[in-house]
């Protein structure tokens, strides 16, 4: 496809610098300490607020010539997922991620509006000590945000004094734009975009990694009005959004402790499209302009998920397919029909369910109203223990398949009970997270913070991992041990304990003759469905307890790599060293038919019973999306995914030759990005094992 070029040369230049990682490499390592900067013997909440105040007063301000959106999160510690303030030589408070804050309501009210809410709440005079400490701390957090804003004003005034001509004009325009926001509600599209960025970036500066949420719903109305009044043109609006996206690359290039999973795990997810609370599709010019921007600039620092449905505009589906076909894994899709059904089935009111976003990855939550964490349960390991394959277990005898299955289910039930007891206790750290609580509904009303069940919905999700591997293994065992009696269970368990050593013929037989999950083959899919249904039945026993909601999900997020050690070899033919399936995708290499067969297997599951969600991760060869028909086919995949009642899917368009070459010559592929699951990362920043995981994913043509 021909390269599109709609944005200005200057914006491209700015983009190039950002994508080079210059800003991420240049983050300031500033030591901020509470010692001597904060009164003694004050409450934890107030101490937290002093941290935020100190950050606002001390963080370096960076404004680049010509940039339209400002507000850089410049501190290195924040990119380590830390609130960058010390006390007695230690980081004082933990920061928060895996959520989407209520930028939607905060933007509409401005900080002043929030302040008013706090004052009104205080006037009711019924807060306990903890509550009034929280609200006072919230006020301090807003004052801190305003300080940071004021410092930008002063920095701009200084820059204006020392610059001339075009540069000066640019600074003046930016200064004018921040005159009223984020304290007051924005009155234009440009102000709204800047206000949103200020609010978002201040959280990031303070170490909190939030998703942004439904940006097109938030900004669409402003743009519509401005376009109508002739205040802004489409191409000007596109430039503004491009600068917003370039700003999002501020941490790119930061070589911190991201572990194996690469450089872009800052969870700054964005949602596009979908219906609003009233059920009306909100897709608007902002949606399309953003797709233009990511298509042209190839920025994937805001991993985007598009909400599709059978009523999505044709144009939206086509644009999504077009952008996906270019590679980079920037866009993923939700089928919002299934998601909303799942949320309503779980108990959320319809209007609330319709506003769903994610946690900065793909887990579903209600933005601005949810405190979220999840708990991984390796169900495949539970099967391995039941069989006596796993470490420190001995082979067990089961006279029939149903006896084996019954034992597995009993062990699963024990694991879920143990999860529920954990979820009854304190939520997360239990520590103050006042800056977060400020943008989460009901914290002000309840006078309780994010980690203290102050949110409207406090969610602790049980997540099953390796569910399809358990299903695959059970399918093989049922067929070979109990139906055909090709091998005895004790023999099979011995083979697995020996990592298939000496049993290559049996292993080859399984690998080549058994159709596993991911091939649209009913026997295997039915077994996986049984394992899923039982997990859902068991987790469904406790939907809510002690103020904590427990909607189930299916995920591994790359844990299948570290889980290898305990799991040992699998009955579906995989040696211990090979990582098994990610999320709800097929075991790598076992999906031998086509991307369509994988989607059908995935959609055979009752996905509307998974309110916290699950992902299908796919890899397509670039030749299959080539040309007009390639894109049309991809469009067809998206539509069929919706029709078949899928949940969440992302497609990497890339060939293994490129990935293998990138392993050898990382210097040539600095910009190559891949979507791992809910997030994306630059391939060369992943460690070897994670790179291998991406390469091992079945490549469909």
């Amino acid at each position: 496809m021909e390269k599109v070029r709609r944005l200005s040369d200057f914006t491209h230049k700015l983009n190039k610098t950002a994508l080079s990682g210059k800003w991420g490499k240049g983050l300031t390592d500033l030591e901020i300490t509470l010692d001597g900067n904060c009164p003694q013997n004050i409450s934890e909440e107030l101490e937290y607020a002093y941290c935020i105040k100190l950050i606002a007063e001390n963080a370096s301000i960076r404004i680049l010539p010509g940039e339209k959106i400002i507000g850089s999160a410049t501190l290195k510690q924040s990119a380590y997922h830390k609130i960058p303030v010390m006390k007695d030589g230690k980081i004082r408070f933990p920061s928060v991620s895996h959520l989407t804050l209520g930028f939607d309501f905060a933007l509409k009210m401005g900080y002043n509006g929030l302040l008013k809410d706090i004052e009104e709440r205080k006037l009711k005079n019924d807060l306990d000590e903890k509550g009034s400490n929280l609200l006072n701390a919230m006020k301090m957090c807003i004052e801190a945000a305003n300080t940071w804003h004021q410092r930008h004003v002063e920095a701009l005034q200084e820059l204006i004094k020392n610059s001339r001509a075009v540069e000066k004009c640019n600074y003046e325009a930016v200064l004018k734009n921040i005159e009223h926001i984020p304290e007051k509600p924005p009155s234009s599209f440009y102000e709204a975009a800047q206000s949103l960025y200020f609010m978002f970036s201040f959280q990031r500066l303070c170490g909190n990694w939030s998703g942004i949420g439904r940006i097109d719903e938030m900004l669409g109305g402003f743009l519509k009005k401005d376009l109508k009044e002739g205040k802004v043109s489409l191409s000007e609006a596109r430039e503004i959004l491009a600068h917003f996206w370039i700003k999002g690359c501020d941490w790119l290039g930061f070589e911190g402790s991201q572990g194996g999973s690469g450089d872009a795990m800052f969870y700054q997810n964005i949602i596009l499209g979908g219906i609003n609370a009233e059920g009306k599709d909100i897709t608007n010019e902002v949606t399309y302009l953003i797709l233009d921007v990511v298509e042209e600039l190839k920025i994937n620092e805001f991993p985007i998920a598009v909400r599709l449905s059978s009523k999505s505009p044709e144009k939206l589906i086509r644009r999504v397919a077009e952008v996906q076909s270019l590679g980079g894994g920037i866009l993923a899709v939700y089928n919002e029909e299934t998601v909303i059904k799942a949320l309503v089935k779980f108990g959320y009111p319809l209007k609330i369910a319709r506003s769903f976003a994610n946690d900065g990855c793909w887990e579903i939550l209600i933005p601005g109203k949810t405190a979220f964490i999840y708990f991984p349960i390796d169900v495949f390991l539970i099967l391995q223990k039941t069989l006596g394959v796993a470490e420190k277990t001995t082979a067990k005898k089961y006279g029939s398949f149903e006896k084996l299955y019954g034992a597995y289910k009993k062990n699963l039930s024990i694991a879920i009970d143990s999860f529920n007891r954990i979820a009854d206790k304190d939520f997360a750290s239990g520590k103050p997270a006042t800056l977060i609580s400020l943008l989460i509904k009901d914290c002000i009303r309840k006078g309780r913070g994010y980690n203290e069940r102050g949110a409207r919905y406090t969610v602790f999700s049980p997540h099953a991992g390796g569910l399809q591997d358990a299903g695959n293994s059970l399918h093989v065992i049922k067929s070979l041990v109990y139906d055909k009696k090709t091998v005895k269970l004790s023999g099979l368990v011995r083979a697995l304990k020996n990592n298939w050593e000496g049993e290559e013929q049996l292993r080859q037989h399984i690998l080549n003759s058994m159709e596993l999950y991911g091939n649209d083959s009913k026997p295997a899919d039915t077994m996986v469905k049984r394992v899923l249904d039982d997990f859902l039945q068991l987790t469904g026993k406790v939907k809510e307890r002690k103020g904590v909601l427990r909607p189930p999900g299916i995920s591994t997020f790359g844990r299948e790599i570290e889980w290898r050690e305990k799991r040992k070899a699998s009955a579906h033919g995989y040696r211990q060293e090979t990582p098994l399936a990610i999320n709800f995708s097929p075991t790598p290499g076992s999906d031998k038919n086509s991307i369509t067969a994988v989607i059908k297997s995935y959609c055979f599951m009752d996905l509307k019973r998974l309110p916290n969600g699950t992902a299908l991760d796919l890899k397509l060869h670039p030749t299959s999306v080539k040309g007009k028909n390639g894109v049309a086919a991809l469009e067809g995949v998206l539509k069929a995914f919706v029709k078949l009642k899928g949940f969440f899917m992302h497609i990497n368009v890339i060939d293994n030759k490129t990935l293998l070459d990138a392993q050898k010559h990382p210097e040539k592929y600095r910009g190559l990005s891949v979507r791992i699951s809910g997030w994306s990362a630059r391939f060369v920043t992943l460690n070897k094992e994670w790179q291998q995981m991406i390469i091992n994913r079945t490549l469909h043509k």
Binding site: L506, Q508, H509, N512, T596, K626, A633, A640
Partner: protein, 299 residues
Amino acid sequence: MKKGLVFDIQKYCTHDGPGIRTTVFLKGCNLNCAWCHNPESIKKIIEIYFTPEKCINCGNCVAVCENGAHLIKKGKHFYSRKKCTLCLKCAGVCDSKAVECVGKEMTSNEVIKKVKEDFEFYEASGGGLTLSGGEPFSQFEFTLELLKKAHAERINTCVETNGAVEKSRLAAVLPYVDLFLYDIKDTGTKRHKYFTGAACDRILENLKFVDSKGKQTILRCLMIKGVNLTAKHLANIANIYMHLKHCKGVELLPYHPYGTSKAEKLGASRKKNTRWIPSETKLQRAKQLLLKKKVEVIE
């Protein structure tokens, strides 16, 4: 029900006609092109693919073979096609697929059932079933049956053909075909005969016939450097295109030598003609030439 001989069914084919398609490859071909991309498709019998690298020395094939065609010596697997009677027993007992069958007998219902699995994807993309080969018309009755049944299931159909077939047979399938992927291998009469074993006159004649009946076509033109990648051949293609009323466009397919490794597994010798591979520049030039003559070139 009479069975057909199928050697592959591939789902999610995105370049065998419009939308997402399932391509069913039928075995047997009436031509013998020097550059054949699918040598496993030529013979209308089940053959044996032999991939010694996959062998795990289990010896099952040696034990089951009555003719001594398999021999494992010092961990090396030897297979004699001379001794082999194609009883196929070895393939049935090989777990590692070092020995496997190419070709499977299937009823039309079995094929249609498989094709129907992706129905939602056809609906969503305007895709459907594509019959390819080999030459589908070398299993004419089976082809006709598949096409009829596909249409009865509301599945769009494409047939890829080399066109060297009897007109009456073409006429018989017409009502059940939505589009022909029509091969134009060459337009030089002598060259065509030399490289494929058949003249091209009937092929071009049949193409006109199909067009006269209002059937849509896409012309598939294999580009072979040193054979047909000439200005004259391209001009001929443009000329053919201009005279067709229902042709949707021309696809230029560069020759690739992947067929040779498949031929090796079949025990057939086929020369790997890397010199036939056209360069990207040459292909682009060919495309430009066609575009200049107002030919719709399909990517």
